[in-house]
């Protein structure tokens, strides 16, 4: 939204935004791994993952106030700051989360039952993925190193970031991508916190959105999220378009589903991490 005016936000706000985005990614991927386990009936693992996720939610509540949706972004910066004491707690908790996830991710990547239900199921080849316009972990699991974070928005330009890529294109590859992204995301959070610059967290933005257009691509946990906004100088925007990652990933089901076994349908549909309410706009 700041691109409409345009205003430049402070470096601290950029780092804080990155931190919260990555924290939300950790929570989203943990949630997804739990749901995947649930989809093929591995109930105990489902709850184990959600137990770890609870720690992430506590961190979110401590820093942002809300448990799932941080709602810290405002036009011009962020609403909350992270104090040094909070920083310590966050670093300790992230350590615990990393240890606990490591234990469980090993189960996911090595267990016979998990492999049986995911390896070779719902394959999307690299060409198909590009042709169908997949985004996010689905695209990366098919061997395309594409990620909106590579456009270096917010603080990603200063952080050590490499997209996680797998080549198989099946449900197992998508699981691996998300599992590895959890650890990457924890690393990014720690890096963002250690490099956190001093300064203002928000700049004041005055007036209504001017007559201007702005486009923004960000990498949400599910994939690339696209925003378009057009202002006309009045209080309300003339147009606002949001394309959610699920909308982009849904066509890939057309090549994943035909010919599969009925019992695999939940796992395949879940493997694109669908959010139907986001898609329906």
């Amino acid at each position: 939204m700041e691109r409409l005016w345009p205003v430049e936000i402070s470096p601290r706000a950029k780092y804080l935004r990155t931190f919260w985005a990555e924290l939300a990614r950790t929570h989203s991927h943990l949630l997804w791994l739990g749901l995947l386990a649930d989809a093929f009936g591995f109930e105990s693992m489902f709850l184990q993952f959600w137990r770890i996720r609870e720690r992430v939610l506590d961190l979110l509540e401590m820093t942002a106030g809300h448990r799932v949706i941080p709602s810290v972004n405002i036009i011009g910066g962020v609403r909350r700051d992270i104090t040094p004491e909070q920083k310590k707690v966050i670093i300790d908790t992230l350590d615990i989360i990393r240890k606990e996830s490591d234990e469980l991710v090993k189960v996911v990547t090595r267990d016979y039952t998990v492999k049986k239900r995911t390896v070779g199921i719902g394959v999307v080849t690299k060409e198909q993925a590009i042709q169908l316009g997949c985004v996010g972990p689905v695209l990366r699991a098919s061997g395309v190193p594409e990620d909106a974070r590579l456009t270096k928005y917010d603080a990603y330009g200063d952080l050590n970031y490499e997209p996680v890529v797998e080549t198989a294109g099946d449900c197992y590859a998508r699981t691996l991508v998300r599992a590895r992204e959890i650890f990457q995301s924890i690393d990014l959070q720690l890096e963002a916190l250690s490099k956190l610059p001093e300064g203002e967290i928000a700049v004041k933005v005055k007036g209504n959105p001017p007559k201007n257009e702005a486009v923004m691509r960000v990498e949400a946990p599910r994939g690339e999220l696209f925003y378009y906004a057009k202002g006309n100088g009045s209080r309300n925007l003339e147009r606002m378009k949001i394309r959610t990652p699920t909308f982009a990933n849904l066509p890939s089901l057309l090549v994943m589903l035909p010919g599969c076994e009925l019992a695999d349908v939940p796992v395949i549909v879940l493997s694109i991490d669908p959010c139907i309410c986001c898609m329906e706009r």
Binding site: S44, M45, Q48, R51, D58, E61, M62, G65, H66, S71, I74, R79, R80, E103, L104, K106, V107, R110, D111, Y112, T113
Partner: protein
Amino acid sequence: MPFMLPTILKNLFTGYATRLYPVQVREPFENARGHIRFNEDKCIMCGVCAMRCPSVSITVEKKKNELTFYPARCIVCEVCIHACPSDAIDLIFKWRTPFYEKPVEIYKSTRIAQLRETADAATDAATDAAKEEESAKEDK
């Protein structure tokens, strides 16, 4: 299964991961967004909060000196808190307890009420004075 074994064994010998909820309650964090409360002494019924609220949780009727708040709609986004020109909205970090019926809270601004009272008193006084004058005229 063998890979899950360490986790299973650990779980066997550790306590519950959950809390005995109604008995044991975890305190919310210091700046958690529990709910919001309006301060009747500070509110001036300007209606900015109602205009800005993304979930239409507030309506302000200045004529009636009434601010109606629908807590069930509120997502505690803090927009109104930062928009309020007279700092009349406080963030309370405790969560609301569950409810059976959607609550509706009505607030009245004390400042406006006072102003109205003095204004009413003034008009009353004015009408009284006018009446007296009239009766005085009639007497003449």
